[in-house]
Amino acid sequence: MGDAGTDGAAALAVRGLVKRYGSATALRGVDLEVGPGELVGLLGPNGAGKSTLTKAACGLVRPSGGAVRVFGHAAGSREARAAIGYLAELFRFPGWCSADEVLALHQRLTGSAGGAEERARLLEDVGLADAAPTRVEHMSKGMQQRLGLAQALVGAPRLLLLDEPTSALDPVGRRLVRALLARLRDAGVAVLLNSHLLTEVELVCDRVVIVNRGAVIRAGRVDELSQARGVEVDTEAGTETFPDVERDGVPALVARLVAEGRSVYGVRVQAPALEDVYVAAVEGATS
């Protein structure tokens, strides 16, 4: 799975991860790797094991089998925790704290010496520049989620584990987060993005891993998963479909049609959206 290098070099290396809760098995031997500067999307229906996988990477749940390593250190170890930033799917900050106080607390917890400058920069990065003195209890759900993202970035983590970071955001907020994630990737931060929002994943992720019933069922680059499936051509007779022709065969196809005296008005290479790939992979599973 993946090509991010050895366990020692990988930001996150998951090998044969098994997690059981009593008689229920949440993860059944998951392999996954995220390299430095790589942004990997984790997809799957509700109950597929995505959050359990993310929590195992943070050390919040203990594996029943297999191994999870963060930059070569066992997940949950002090060294691993020092390298990660985490935004939980369900989290809450104390309502009596201001945004600035939340970040100051996490600066103390991480040992960050960034001070007020770091806090101001992080709030600006998530679009909360004016909200530093605002108490959490007076923030909208979307503002709290963006504050959660800023909190995850305190101390300059090298691996960011995000569990549904945009679920409560409006379109502008999502765009802001997408841009932020792209900048983080460019800065060398590894990101594991667990999201239900396929378009978000499609737009920003380098690779996608689809999980269902506790196992990885598809993985690869978005363009690899969305391989071409035929060509549609608009001619004087209407739209014709050539299902066996791929992108590389388009020039020859157009040349042949023109040679046959046909008029070609448009050509579209058919590629399934990530949503189609996802639905086919999970066989329509939900909840």
Binding site: R108, G111, G188
Partner: protein
């Protein structure tokens, strides 16, 4: 923008101090301490009224043969203060820690903190230390205040001052440790019920001892001894209660020690060591359970 340089390494204890400070801040900002202070002031006002009336009425009623009424009233009233402070300190300590692990985890408050480098044990011990600090301060202020009030109103000082105050503070710390342990496995409500049932169990052990002494039943006294030492907060409380009138002799001493507050019982030589060992054991169990808990 976030850089990929090596992450910062927090200084040892810095994270734990941050959590303890955050817990204390929470108590202040959510007005927990304000409410406690106001209700304690009400308790103090009622206590002052009762104490004033008690001293005046016993003086005007005339003496009873072989009874030092001044010591009887003073000792009993300070015993009442000790019982009340024990109860209020227990309420305060329990409510500061009832949801320290499972409750906070269910609310989603705990996860962002425990993924930080300081680790789970430090988070838990910091929560305990913060709550214990608040409770120790509270017990010292309230019980010493009550002793001073009795001195002003009735001119009575207990025979010992430091020992009852310290033992009561230690008793509340033991209860805080039990509450922290309970929070690792029980929901907030269930833990609250458990803590107060354990607290009640300790008081019952003391009462059994009193009854056993009154009816001269060695079995009941044995049950009380082992019960109060199994829950050493009760033995500490009883030892403190006993120290209040340690030098009061004769019939007065017997009556005041048989008073209504759970049975004064002199502390054995190893009680402090046992209580410390018990508390450390409880905290170690809490740390071990928390370390294994999936969040």
């Amino acid at each position: 923008m976030t850089a990929t340089a090596s992450p910062p390494q927090p200084r040892p204890w810095a994270g734990a101090l941050a959590v303890a400070r955050h817990t204390l801040q929470e108590s202040l900002r959510r007005r927990v301490l304000l409410v406690v202070a106001l209700l304690t002031a009400l308790f103090g006002a009622g206590y002052w009224f009762v104490a004033t009336q008690a001293f005046e009425e016993t003086e005007s009623a005339g003496g009873i043969r072989d009874i030092d009424e001044h010591a009887l009233v003073g000792g009993t009233l300070v015993g009442l203060a000790m019982f009340g402070t024990m109860f209020l300190g227990t309420v305060l300590g329990a409510f500061l820690t009832l949801g320290a692990v499972r409750g906070d985890a269910e609310r989603g408050v705990l996860q962002p903190i425990v993924v930080r480098p300081m680790g789970r044990a430090s988070v838990l011990l910091a929560r305990f230390a913060a709550a214990a600090t608040v409770c120790i301060g509270y017990v010292i202020v309230v019980l010493l205040g009550a002793m001073c009030l009795i001195r002003v109103v009735g001119g009575y000082w207990p025979d010992r001052i430091a020992q009852p105050v310290l033992q009561l503070a230690a008793a509340v710390v033991v209860i805080v440790a039990l509450s922290v342990l309970g929070s690792t496995v029980l929901s907030t409500n269930a833990n609250g019920i458990a803590v107060f049932m354990v607290f009640g169990g300790g008081l019952v052990a003391g009462l059994i001892g009193q009854i056993g002494e009154a009816v001269n039943s060695p079995t009941m006294q044995d049950v009380a001894f082992w019960g109060s030492h199994l829950l050493p907060f009760q033995a500490l409380y009883q030892g403190g209660l006993d120290a209040l009138t340690a030098d009061t002799r004769g019939l007065t001493g017997v009556i005041v020690r048989l008073g209504p507050f759970g049975g004064a019982e002199a502390s054995g030589p190893g009680l402090w060591a046992w209580a410390a060992l018990f508390t450390v054991g409880v905290l170690a169990a809490a740390v071990a359970l928390f370390a294994r808990r999936d969040l």
